[in-house]
Subunit: 251 residues, 2 copies
DNA sequence: CAGCTGTGACTGGTCCGACCAGTGGACTAG
DNA sequence: CTAGTCCACTGGTCGGACCAGTCACAGCTG
């Protein structure tokens, strides 16, 4: 065979796919912003010069990806949604379900991200931000008397504040997603634990230690404490032979 | 108003949605496995007792989520796909683009993930894995003589091996995604740099130092070196006032 | 005048029937 | 036994139809 150009296999591009691409490109170019509306399906039919079936298939894909939302009867047409991590979380849950993602991996991820965020936060935090962080501790304490869901909510706020102080929304989103996945996997075990209240109190204590380390400005200590706490909190749910990777992070 | 049961707002469930749910549930229950085939669209029409449009909308959603793939003319019907991270990556890229992530955030993320992966890897690695890692260094060296794209490819392999040694595919996926985003932002600057070859050689040297630290089993040192190297490599592209968060990670 | 109401022009959700360009297996001719 | 043809069937796309719901607005009522 002669040495020729290396051809790429060509797969047919469906019409609905090109519609999806056009809408997503308009989004990244800023021509479409959340809150704005798409034309109605019948209007899109004329603009894209395809049938309504094709337009609808494109809209279903966009809807499944959390880009738009269609409501019957809405004269304004489909709505462009603000970014939400639900679609991302859905994919990650799927990844976890297929069991290519173990609980240990998820928790390792959280130990890494949260520890790093705390390390950065302890060096960048302003006095006002430190006060805000301490305020979230108060909220967590009060939530314990409500129920586990409220406590979980307050805990989420704590980690959000940490990520914001660390000036990194990527960490914030990733943590939120992974945290959600972990909770869907084991939240029932925690919520139904007979010592649920004790667990919450202990978790609160751990968070307080982290805040204390952040106040003193010792980033490494704060990160180490945070990782150790998370290990203590979750290790019981991880199979023994998968804990090595987690322990490698606590040192 | 009397105290009654707390009702939830009810949103209409579309027919195509219930089809998607049924297929996904069959997947998690193991009744459907990758490689198997779904009945043809017209057969699904009779099984679900809906129209073909509805079936097709469901298939488009499943296809967009990476669950199945339809090929025209295939008498076996849509194929159940093995899990792939492409759908996950798609969502993350969307996050990166829509949330206006700064280069500093992305690089911070890489410093964190890569450093942690290296730290774990240096404690879990087997001799065989260490040898494999050293082999990737050789591949990187050879790729320098080809072009930047080849070097970039070899570099990607290096970090993939690291993540695999760390027993964490989530880190692997995240790193791959973020790395891709970073490269789309500044790869042209690097590739067009007059000292492109010198940069690659320096990068290779840095990777060799990391491998040396992994060989000696000093996880903290390996992680610190890796983060410092990445900072040196990328800091020039980051605005001065955003480097604080990165420096907080090198300490 | 203000407020309610009924109407009608829309919306999206679903269904049906049709046509096309492909695919792949069976069947036939060599 | 092989090579070629053929055909049933696939998914992709189209156009039209009907339904239930929503919303804006005109018109009526007070």
């Amino acid at each position: 065979m002669a040495d020729g150009p290396r051809f790429q296999p060509v797969q047919p591009v469906r019409a609905y796919q090109r519609i999806v691409e056009q809408v997503e490109e308009a989004l990244v170019r800023g021509e479409l912003a959340p809150g704005q509306r798409l034309p109605s399906e019948r209007e899109l039919v004329t603009q894209f010069a395809v049938s309504r079936s094709t337009v609808r298939e494109a809209l279903r894909v966009l809807e499944s990806n959390g880009v738009v939302r269609s409501r019957p009867g809405d004269p304004n047409g489909p709505e462009i949604l603000p970014f939400s991590s639900t679609a991302l979380r859905k994919q990650m849950v799927r990844l976890a379900r297929v069991d290519e993602l173990t609980l240990a991996e998820l928790i390792a991820f959280r130990m890494i991200m949260d520890g790093a965020a705390i390390q950065v936060a302890s060096q960048l935090r302003t006095p006002a931000e430190l006060a805000e962080l301490e305020q979230t501790l108060v909220a967590m304490r009060e939530a314990i008397d409500v129920d586990f869901a409220a406590f979980s909510e307050a805990d989420l706020t704590f980690h959000d504040v940490i990520a914001r102080i660390a000036r990194n929304s990527l960490i914030q989103t990733c943590n939120e997603v992974v945290r959600g996945v972990v909770l869907t996997l084991i939240s029932d075990k925690i919520a139904h634990a007979p010592n649920s209240r004790a667990l919450m109190l202990e978790s609160l204590q751990h968070h307080a230690e982290v805040v204390e380390a952040i106040r003193s400005g010792d980033g490494h200590a704060a990160a180490r404490i945070a990782r150790q706490n998370m290990y203590d909190y979750y290790a019981g749910y991880v199979p023994e032979d998968e804990r090595d990777a987690l322990r490698a992070l606590t040192g």
